[in-house]
């Protein structure tokens, strides 16, 4: 029976797997709806382990948005670890949802949330375990419609053979629109079969159906053109943008898992989008323009969320939280409201700015000050101009001095390696910066045992950014540079253990690069490597570079391109990029110009404070910047009452 629970079969396997609690569901605020009284049923998958997927904001939002609707049901599913996968295969237990433990193959839609490309192989495991044909083209009318969303869906070409549809941008309205179309088609008795419902989705202009597009290639392997093969499919598909975040206060009741996850706190998204213009940052580029949640909207969400969850900490999230137009008021008013209630507030802002330290001080008025994180991203001032991170070394030293003087004991600095035009000198400068930070910190705090941790990762060029044309640095060169930096940091005994150094080798970045800027031909690589056992590629203990390199070699043997072609090759201005028919709003000419300007180190301002410089987004998408100040404040009358209803007498 469709929609029946497979829990009894699953339960027999759970004693043999690690952390079985992640598979049993029952999270606080989770929802189970009646199967038969709903006519549109979504399985939402975050294609990584439960501990990473459960706290994901995007999935949690969509789960609630859908379940709030009458007649629509949404359940969650996550990647199962290889130990359970093996047992499920042996015992014929299908991919299941954790809510009512229904078989994923029974749903109308399977929505996948791709924050990162490294989840692609996990999607294949799920499809396979669910009994859903791996290739979209082989699916029948009763198979779920497989829809990809999340940031990686801005270039879904590498997974185009596996998904039926992809949605670019914000999902809140998109999932409701898709639900309405599927409902209508079902109520009509599913006329025209699967193709008809996909055509109806394509016709909206904002759901990409890869099967309705053909890609031709030049002899040298570059793309010649991408054309629609159906008159009802538009030549270009655009992204979704939710305007007025206050109307979308999701999640209202955040999920509280029993299992431990990577993010043990409640999150409130205080704005969406970022226009700082960092040239490497895909998240910033594709989520333009900035849309703020109002100070009162934030206050209401914090209050409702805390009451619904019992969490002891709230994170005020966004791409650059200190940039909210009323962040000082938000921080002060929330700190006032929750003073004395053991409720922690945190701001994951990493901008190098002394104002950030003031904010962090406010939020930890009477709490522990352990570590602050800043992301200068580039080691030298020159490279920071290239990436448009306008921070001088003096700014940085001033900021960390303020931090150490205010009792913070540890500062973490995030950097990237392999940025366009970068040389060894740019990266070695990081060692000098770290030493200056320690000197400044020792002086400001009067203590010797302060710390600075340098964390550095390889840069991966991403679609829809000014660096989409850039050559990625090969992994040998990345590793060599990182080793030089490590040696430079360790060489100076005066700093000993005061400077920590964390880095990742360059190999995973190359595969991420292949998947980020790949085209349809890369689908064969993903399939091949998955067949050879690749799973959980975001986890170093599971990732195998060799397996990927071998798979790329084999799967691409009959086309004139290879792994290097996709990664360490610089693209030309006229080259058709695999995602050119997918519209993030950014004007390709503007991106190219910004790419050219980056090489000369020309900076771009933030359009929130300077005139619009026509990146293309607002015009193309019909959106505009939505920021305060509103001038409102959070009233203390709503202070959480510390006197519990239970108490029979007050303590003296």
């Amino acid at each position: 029976m469709p929609g029946a629970s497979v829990f009894p079969q699953l339960e027999a396997l759970l004693p043999f797997v690690t952390k079985p609690i992640q598979y049993v569901g029952g999270e606080l605020n989770s929802t189970i709806k009646d199967w038969d009284t709903c006519d549109v049923r979504w399985a939402l998958m975050y294609p990584d382990a439960y501990e990473v997927g459960l706290p994901n904001q995007g999935s949690m939002i969509l789960y609630e948005v859908l379940n709030e609707q009458e007649g629509i049901l949404a359940e969650r599913t996550y990647a199962v670890w290889p130990d359970l996968e093996k047992l499920m295969r042996k015992n014929h237990v299908p991919q299941f949802t954790v809510d009512a433990h229904r078989a994923v193959g029974d749903f109308d839609l399977l929505g996948l949330s791709f924050s990162t490309e490294l989840g692609y192989t996990n999607m294949l495991t799920a499809l396979d375990l669910a009994g859903i044909p791996m290739h979209a083209i082989d699916r029948g009318i009763d198979d779920p419609i497989v829809v990809a969303g999340g940031h990686a869906a801005f270039n879904p070409e590498p997974i185009s053979r596996f998904v039926d549809a992809a949605v670019l941008g914000d999902g809140e309205e998109a999932v409701l629109m898709i639900s309405a179309i599927v409902r209508q088609w079902k109520s009509e008795g599913r006329p025209g079969g699967r193709e008809e419902v996909l055509l109806r989705l394509a016709e909206t202009g904002s759901v990409y159906i890869p099967a309705f597009y053909d890609v031709d290639y030049h002899d040298d392997g570059r793309i010649r053109r991408v054309t629609a093969n159906q008159t009802r499919a538009p030549w270009r598909v655009s992204k979704h943008t939710v305007m007025n975040l206050d109307e979308w206060p999701f999640p209202k009741k955040p999920l509280v898992p029993l299992a431990e996850t990577v993010h043990e706190r409640m999150s409130v998204e205080i704005f969406r989008g970022c226009t700082r213009g960092c040239r490497f940052c895909q998240a910033g580029m594709i989520t333009r323009p900035v849309r703020e949640r109002s100070i009162t909207g934030i206050g209401d969400m914090v209050k409702a969320g805390l009451e619904a969850t019992g969490y002891e900490e709230v994170g005020l999230l966004s791409l650059s939280s200190a940039d909210h137009s009323e962040i000082a008021e938000v921080a002060k008013d929330l700190a006032d409201r929750y003073e004395g209630t053991q409720t922690g507030l945190s701001l994951p802002s990493t901008r190098v700015d002394a104002f950030n330290v003031d904010l962090a001080n406010e939020l930890t008025r009477n709490g522990r000050r352990s570590g602050l994180t800043f992301a200068p991203e580039g080691g030298s001032e020159r490279i920071r101009k290239v990436i448009n991170k306008m921070v001088t070394e003096e700014d940085l030293i001033r900021t960390v001095t303020t931090a150490y003087a205010n009792g913070w004991r540890q500062v973490k600095l995030y950097f990237m390696c392999g940025l366009p035009t970068e040389t060894d000198e740019d990266v070695l400068q990081i060692a000098e910066v770290a030493k200056r930070v320690i000197e400044a910190g020792r002086e400001a705090s009067g203590m010797k045992d302060i710390r600075c941790t340098v964390s550095i990762g390889g840069f991966v060029p991403k679609p829809h950014t000014p660096f989409q044309w850039a050559a990625q640095l090969d992994h040998e060169a990345t590793d060599a540079r990182l080793h030089k930096l490590r040696d430079a940091i360790r060489a100076d005994r005066r700093y000993g253990k005061s400077i920590g150094f964390r880095y990742h080798d360059g190999k995973p970045g190359i595969i991420e690069g292949l998947l980020s800027r790949g085209d349809r031909r890369v689908g064969a690589v993903i399939e091949q490597v998955w067949r050879q056992g690749a799973r959980f590629d975001g986890w170093s203990e599971h990732f195998s570079y060799q397996a990927w390199a071998d798979a790329a070699h084999e799967a691409l043997s009959d086309v004139p391109v290879d792994l290097n072609w996709y990664t360490i090759r610089e693209r030309g201005e006229d080259e058709v990029l695999p995602w050119d028919h997918l519209d993030s709003g950014l004007d390709k000419e503007w991106l190219w110009q910004d790419w050219q300007e980056s090489i000369s180190g020309a900076e771009v301002e933030d359009c929130r404070w300077t005139p619009c410089y026509d990146c293309g987004v607002c015009d193309q998408m019909g959106t505009s910047i939505q920021i305060g100040p509103t001038g409102q404040r959070l009233l203390p009358v709503t202070v959480v009452d510390p006197t519990p209803v239970l108490a029979t007498e007050a303590s003296s």
């Binding site: 002891e312 009477n366 009792g407 009067g446």
Partner: protein, 264 residues
């Protein structure tokens, strides 16, 4: 200069209460840490006036005792908390139960009298189901186990493989009949027990290293080759003071209640 928290220290504990709760249904797969997080969140959601330690990182005064292993259901788990305001124990039980996920059900809350709760938890009674195993083979394994002076078992721990004796901690080991009181208690925790399933009850003293129901099952296999086709499902029926004569486990909260119930 090191910072210090401003203002007065948090209010002290004015009342200690002991909570009897369960681990039922799917929640048997929760680990002890999972329970801890859920419990501390329930305290906050229920707005329960728990006392906090001082310092920059105050933590609620909660003492956990002797949690059942991951995968094992339980009708007899205990935890003690310190309150900064006196509360009515009945109301407290209701609010906590409401705030905890279903499966972590609060059965009773009592105000603590003197004596440590942990010290009273001398032994546990475990009910072990062997679905799909031949009852005669299970009986034979039990007889062999009980006849032995020593049954060496091994278990993987954080510090590598440990070898120890599982026999001496076992006070009694014997069959449980369908419909008996113990069987009924276990069904409350795990739902229906399949008909015709061989069921054992083991009363095991709390020792160091702890002998867990897994170790008893392992011991049965070592001594008789009993290899259950399906994983045995285990429920903790009781834990508390052990009467060594009768092998009866008393309710550890008896000594906190005004009326002492008899433990005959």
């Amino acid at each position: 200069m090191a910072r210090r928290p401003e203002g007065p220290p948090p209010p002290p504990t004015v009342q200690k209460v002991r909570i009897h709760y369960t681990k039922r249904g799917r929640l048997r797969f929760s680990s002890h840490r999972d329970f801890q997080r859920a419990f501390e969140r329930a305290i906050r959601r229920g707005n329960i006036p728990v006392a906090f330690s001082a310092g920059f990182n105050p933590h609620p005064k909660v003492s956990y005792a002797n949690a059942a292993p991951t995968g094992v259901a339980s009708e007899a788990e205990y935890v003690e908390i310190g309150l900064a305001m006196r509360c009515d124990v009945k109301q407290l039980a209701a609010v906590l139960d409401e705030s905890l996920p279903t499966g972590f059900d609060v059965l009773e809350v009592v105000e603590a009298k003197e004596g440590s709760l942990a010290d009273r938890l001398e032994a546990s009674a475990w009910l072990i189901e062997f679905p799909g195993s031949d009852p005669a083979a299970v009986d034979a394994a039990v007889a062999a186990f009980l006849a032995a002076d020593e049954v060496q078992v091994q278990r993987m721990t954080k510090n590598g493989m440990r070898h120890f004796d599982a026999r001496s901690a076992v006070v009694t080991l014997g069959p449980v009949l369908a419909g008996s009181p113990d069987w009924q208690v276990a069904e409350r925790a795990v739902g229906a027990i399949p008909a015709g399933c061989a069921i054992l009850k083991a009363v095991v003293r709390h020792t160091t290293p702890a002998v867990r129901p897994d170790d008893v099952i392992y011991g049965l296999r070592e001594i008789s080759g009993l290899t259950p086709s399906n994983p045995p499902r285990v429920t903790r029926l009781a834990q508390g003071p052990l009467d060594t004569q009768t092998a009866v486990i008393a309710d550890p909260l008896d000594r906190d209640r005004d009326v002492i119930t008899s433990t005959s």
